[in-house]
Amino acid sequence: MTEHNQLPLNADDNLSEGESQLFRLRLFVIGASPNSIRAITNLKNICEEYIKANYELEIIDVYQQPLIAEAEQIVALPLLIKKSPGTERKLIGDMSNTAKVLKGLGIYSES
């Protein structure tokens, strides 16, 4: 279930820093629950739109790996953890609030 995308940074990106920064994202979901499916779709859309080809997304089904839930302090799902760049951030929910997702990822859109 792991998706691995690595693409060079686009010139017209909206990143505050011009340098190429790889977004390492982990999305924890639970099977095929409506929330999970929505979260995956929403997140993919956001990523494709704002950090296209500059992210690494790992989707983990917690049902399959229950141990990870404790290790990652998972309570609410779906959960997106941004490992880098910058400090680790946690985002929960189905990623339907794009502005919040971008804020959480540290991407500032012009909107």
Partner: protein
């Protein structure tokens, strides 16, 4: 009525299964423990012992009932928890290693989390489910679930998920404890958790009254089971939590007709020569300085001399002080302390609340298993509670002691101002035997008089005895009952002396009177003699007169004859012839 009764009995047979908590006293109140396979809510203010109680539930389950448990902490980290209970003698890490316990710290920080839409708490469920399955847990604690509300903002989701969580726990078949912080006003928890947990709710409370804090526990609700509804005090000490189910409503105690000596032979003789009943309660009341402690110490000494255990709760003096003071009246308690038969527990009454005292006493008695307990004095307890509170505490204490067949002696200070001889604590009606030591003041000195006000179930002396404290111990002396009333002390001695002189004086008086009588008799006798003599002389006189008269008559007659003879002329004629001629 009988039908109803039968029905009730039937339902009690079919009680809902329970999980014993292993917490002292809590199982008694709840009639066996928490509802098995259902969640229980423990709520209360901060610092009232919620976490400890729930943690103890899990630990006791793991160690005593072989029921592994999961402790999910929303507040404290695993090592913090372990450190907290290490002082109670529990090793959480070892239990974790042995797969008896699983600690899981759930960390939620609002600042770290961005909510981006719909979510659920499935992650928590998975964690919990995995933890339960990995060790086969039967017990689960969620401490404090309400932290979720501070970490996550979507109340609608949270409430729906909580409902799901409780269903999840029920489906898992685990006995769960959920703790919750007490809310504002009448609500039990801040987030209204009581709405979700409907089977059993326990409320903990931490109250400060008169600067003394007492923790209390109340079972607010227990669906499908009988339970104690009162507020019960509980204690957190080095052995964990103990709740005291202090009121046994039944009066169905075993009684003993064995008698035990009071340590004062003359006092025993007032109780028909045998002393108190074993397992009875004895009250010694009196004004200050009447020797109550001495009586108590003498009783303790006697008990220990018979190789029985005695517990001495001192609320006024320190043990060393008592030991020293009692030595002065030839009661050596030190030897019993050394041999382990006598144990002192001295504490200021204000150390903690009344209920805490009771719990502490209860615990010590359970551990030491004495045959006799002495509380000296109970009066001081009044400083930490009202009269009715002290009374109810003592009722429960006596109840408990009688259940355990422990003889108890209370001492109580009664004030001179109290008109009747009731003790302040009003326990005199509860006790089996009541000794009253009273000052008897007269002739500028104070003496002690001892009465037996009552003694259930045995004949006892109705007399007042003088109670003396000597270098050789305690003794009772018969008071002197003279015509002037009861005399004690030197007045008694004086009266005795007075009596002695009285006897001597009387003896003397008697002999004097005897002599007087003798003298009087002699006097009378002499008087009689003189009267007799007088009478004789009078008689003589009279006799003399008679004779004289006779002689006179004779002479007169003779003279007349002669005159007659002369007249006739025949002077020569013989007298006889003349007579015949005529």
């Amino acid at each position: 009525m009988t039908k109803f009764h039968k029905k009730q009995q039937l339902t009690t047979f079919d009680q809902l299964p329970k999980t014993p908590t292993g917490i002292t006293g809590l199982d008694e109140i709840t009639g066996g423990g928490l509802p098995k396979g259902r969640p229980t809510l423990i709520c209360g203010e901060a610092g009232c012992g919620k976490t400890l109680m729930s943690l103890e539930f899990v630990i006791r389950g793991a160690t005593e009932f072989n029921e592994p448990g999961v402790f999910m902490a929303f507040e404290e980290k695993a090592d913090e928890l372990a450190a907290n209970v290490a002082s109670l003698g529990f090793d959480l890490f070892k239990l974790q290693e042995n797969k008896k316990l699983r600690l899981d710290h759930v960390h939620i920080d609002r600042s770290e989390i961005e909510e981006t839409g719909e979510y659920d708490l499935e992650g928590l469920f998975i964690r919990l489910g995995y933890a339960i399955d990995s060790i086969g847990a039967k017990r689960v604690v969620l401490d404090t679930l309400e932290n979720l509300f501070s970490g996550l903002s979507n109340q609608v989701i949270l409430r729906a998920e909580l409902k799901r969580l409780f269903n999840f726990l029920k489906n898992k078949g685990v006995t769960a404890i959920i703790t919750g912080e007490k809310g504002e006003g009448a609500s039990l928890t801040r987030q209204g958790l009581e709405e979700y947990v409907s089977d059993c709710v326990i409320l903990l409370d931490h109250r400060v009254i008169n600067q003394i804090s007492t923790r209390r526990l109340r079972v607010v609700k227990y669906r499908g089971s009988q339970h104690g509804t009162n507020e019960y005090p509980f204690l957190i000490d080095e052995e964990g939590i103990s709740v005291l189910p202090v009121t046994s409503l039944k009066l169905e105690k075993e009684v003993s007709s064995k008698r035990i000596s009071s340590g004062i032979p003359s006092l025993d003789s007032m109780f028909g020569g045998k002393g108190f009943f074993q397992g009875s309660s004895i009250l010694v009341s009196g004004t200050a300085g009447t020797g109550k402690t001495s009586i108590a110490a003498s009783f303790a000494n006697e008990v220990c001399s018979n190789k029985k255990k005695c517990l001495y709760f001192a609320f006024e003096e320190s043990p060393k002080q008592i030991l020293r003071n009692m030595k002065s009246i030839n009661i050596d308690l030190q030897q019993h302390v050394d041999s382990g038969l006598l144990e002192f527990h001295a504490s200021r009454p204000t150390l903690y609340g009344l209920e805490m005292h009771l719990v502490a006493i209860y615990k010590i008695i359970k551990r030491f298993k004495p045959s006799t307990v002495i509380l000296d004095p109970i009066t001081n307890l009044i400083t930490v509670g009202s009269v009715s509170e002290v009374k109810s505490m003592l009722i429960r204490l006596i109840d408990f002691l009688q259940d355990e067949q422990v003889t108890v002696m209370f001492t109580a200070l009664s004030l001179n101002t109290v008109v009747n001889e009731q003790t302040d604590e009003g326990v005199s009606s509860l006790v089996d035997a009541w000794l009253l030591v009273r000052d008897i003041e007269s002739n500028g000195e104070r003496n002690r008089g001892l009465y037996i006000m009552k003694s259930r179930g045995m004949s006892h002396s109705n007399q007042v005895r003088e109670f003396t404290i000597t270098d050789n111990g305690l003794n009772l002396v018969d008071v002197y009952l003279g015509p002037e009333g009861v005399l004690t002390g030197s007045a008694r001695e004086a009266q005795k002396l007075k009596e002695k002189t009285g006897v001597a004086l009387r003896d003397f008086a008697v002999s004097r009177k005897d002599k007087e009588i003798l003298r009087k008799r002699m006097m009378l006798e002499s008087k009689i003699a003189s009267l007799q003599a007088e009478f004789e002389s009078a008689e003589e006189e009279l006799n003399k007169m008679y004779l004289e008269d006779e002689l006179k008559q004779e002479i007169i007659e003779k003279n007349r004859q002669e005159i007659t003879n002369i007249r006739r002329g025949n002077v020569d004629a013989p007298k006889s012839k003349a007579k015949t001629k005529k």
